[in-house]
């Protein structure tokens, strides 16, 4: 007991420290929760030592937050300090909260130098064919990146259709300030979980998109071009509102392994799909393999609206990622298409959650997961059908490909159906690469590693064909690299 106190770094009165026997005597007869509480308290103290109201005040001041946002951050901070880390998923005790605290502290020089960036990240940039100019930025060591110009061009282009596309900070100060206030963290409130609270307190960067009624945006908006906002890839917030009858395809993320000094990503994505609107949200995430990716994504779909998710999860050490769709309006529907690749040292806990509220709503889930070199992949699907959701349909199809005998893959389907009048289906399949198939491809001159990669790409094809061509190509490259194990 005294050792654990010493290790916690908390200063205790020497008088108590010396009377070790007295402490033991005191602990005797007390219940276990007493002990647990003490640990909590030391954790609490640690966080307090880093993430304080003063720091939040500084963040707010630096960002020139409106007063309501400042208060929002402070309330979130209180929640964050009170809440427990989740205890049901992959372990996250390797997460060093001190690093994160340091990172969110304003005016801290977090940027390392190019020399400090791990070698495998650098070589992955080359293999993915990322232009040199972007290397430093993606490695988190370059402050400037030439994407700014591309971003502004894109902004002007869609601006002509009345579409608002900006960083969230700017939106807090222009004519859309009230709209941001109306929607910001309403779908993912800081009370949701500890990392949502952290996000609410320290969020920084991210996108704001508003598509006015009836506007069909002709080209996909790609946040790739504006990732250079400070804090992007860490606590960024994406807020998208597609108004009635409008249509948008938004693409977030990129295939380059983004490297951050602090290893927590707690971003938040809130998507509002209004009556008769359609939103396709595509994302390819590839985090560096020290990263804890605890991202929260949610969509609210109104009557006759349609939400489409296309999601590729690569990289990270541990991921918790379960995009949620709330089918609130009648006749609304959602399609979720996702792929996860868990390699060496990775534990990716992904899935999706569908909440059917409106009548005649439908959800269609197609996922693929791959695991290799001892990687662990867990797919959770939660389908909730409320009593109001009469005549609803849901179909979940989850396929897994194991690339060796030491990897692991689990499927955890949860269904909570509160009406008789619905049609629910679930299918899960686990397979392996057959040696015969590898031999078959090799008999046409294809080397073994390529043959395996082709089989895996084929398995992933239903997902990649949902992506725009250049992203599909990047994803195939990513799969190849993962297969070679050259990125782990």
């Amino acid at each position: 007991m005294s050792e654990s106190v010493a290790n916690s770094g908390v200063h205790f009165d020497p008088a108590i420290d010396n009377s070790k026997d007295d402490i033991n005597a005191y602990l005797e007869g007390t219940d276990r929760s007493m002990y647990d509480f003490r640990n909590e308290e030391t954790d609490f103290y640690k966080v307090q030592s880093g993430l304080t109201r003063e720091i939040i005040d500084q963040i707010s001041e630096e960002k020139n937050d409106p007063e309501w946002m400042h208060e929002f951050r402070l309330k979130s901070l209180d929640l964050y300090n009170k809440m427990q880390v989740p205890n049901w998923g992959p372990p996250i005790d390797g997460l060093n909260m001190d690093d994160i605290v340091t990172y969110v502290r304003p005016n801290t020089k977090m940027q390392g130098s190019w020399e400090e960036v791990p070698e495998e990240i650098k070589s992955a940039f080359d293999k993915l064919g990322i232009p040199k100019a972007e290397h430093e930025f993606l490695a988190g060591v370059g402050a400037q990146y030439d994407s700014e110009l591309v971003y502004h061009n894109l902004q002007d282009f869609v601006g002509k259709q009345g579409v608002v596309y900006s960083d969230l900070e700017s939106a807090l100060h222009n004519e859309y300030a009230d709209m941001v206030r109306e929607y910001f963290m309403k779908l993912v409130p800081p009370t949701d979980h500890k990392f949502a609270a952290l996000h609410g307190a320290v969020w920084s960067g991210g996108s704001f998109v508003y598509v006015p009624k009836g506007v069909h945006v002709d080209m996909p908006l790609q946040s790739y071009f504006r990732l250079n906002a400070k804090g992007a890839g860490q606590f960024e917030h994406t807020l998208i509102i597609v108004d009635e009858g409008a249509d948008l395809h938004f693409i977030e993320g990129c295939s380059a392994p983004k490297w951050n000094v602090a290893n927590l990503h707690a971003g938040c994505v809130e998507l509002f799909v209004k009556k008769g609107a359609r939103l396709r949200y595509s994302t390819i995430e590839n985090w560096s393999k020290n990263m804890y990716n605890l991202n929260t994504k949610r969509a609210l779909v109104e009557e006759g609206g349609r939400m489409e998710w296309v999601s590729g999860s690569f990289g990270s050490h541990v991921s918790y990622l379960y995009p949620t769709t709330i089918l609130k309006g009648n006749d609304s529907d959602v399609e979720y298409t996702g792929i996860t690749f868990s390699g060496k040292g990775q534990n990716l806990d992904t899935g999706c959650r569908m909440v059917h509220i409106g009548e005649n709503t439908s959800s269609l889930v197609t996922t693929k997961s791959l695991s290799k070199d001892g990687g662990i992949g867990t797919f959770r699907s939660a389908i909730e059908v409320m009593p109001t959701a009469k005549s609803s349909k849901s179909s979940v199809d989850c396929q897994t490909l194991m690339l060796d005998d030491i990897s692991r893959s689990d499927t955890v389907p949860v269904m909570d159906i509160k009406t008789n009048n619905c049609d629910i289906g679930h299918e899960a399949k686990i397979g392996r690469i057959s040696d015969e198939a590898v031999f078959y491809l090799m008999s046409r001159g294809i080397p073994e590693n390529e043959a395996r990669a082709m089989i895996v790409s084929g398995f992933a094809n239903p997902i990649s064909k949902e992506l725009p061509l250049e992203y599909a190509a990047e994803m195939n490259n990513l799969i190849k690299l993962e297969m070679e194990g050259s990125m782990s």
Partner: protein
Amino acid sequence: MSDSLLQVKDLSVAIEEGQILHDVNLTIRPGETHVLMGPNGAGKSTLGNTLMGNPVYHVTGGQIFFDGQDITRETTDKRAKAGMFMSFQNPLEVPGLSLESFIRNSLRQQTGKPVRIMQFKKQLEETMALLNMDPSYADRDLNVGFSGGEKKKAEILQMLMLAPKFAILDETDSGLDVDAVRTVSKGIEEYHKRSDGALLIITHNAKILESLAVDYTHVLVKGSLVTTGGADLVQKINEEGFEQYIEEAAKANE
């Protein structure tokens, strides 16, 4: 040996469950058509698979030379690059990989050069037409949902597109209706004509051989080549069966 394309010397092959082939000797020269016959379980497919380098089959003795090179320990892809091909008895299904892209990738691997798309597409279309294959099969996932006949036609299509020096046809005619056999047979003729390719045809059925000029016929019984003859041997076996050879093999073992 200098004029042979494939030379198999004293080849013995085992799988985990036991020995299958015993001291097989076989020489095939460029452009020759050889037929391999034998009762079920004689080891015909084992020979084909071993020549192609299937890792399930272990060479326990002897050597395989192709184009003057000892390829006994060579990987399957290197054998293919050297000019070998096998039409599979049960072609594998690969979801998400189209037939066209499979052939294109194979060509690229074999030639080491990018494939010229327009020229490739034209050739693919023409070859598919020759084999009475619906052009839509080019975009379909490799062998997924193909009928038995379409799978075999797809194998012959690959052979024609890749134009190997030597092709093993492992029961390409089995389970096909008369029309399909005729089409496949036409494809084999075309291969022969176009690239003067050598063939080792593993079959039970004389029908596929009707329009082909067979140079040699070999009979394999219980893992040993028991006799070799000309084209007339096919006819003889069709009439008399393998009885005589099985008995001879049994006597030889006594």
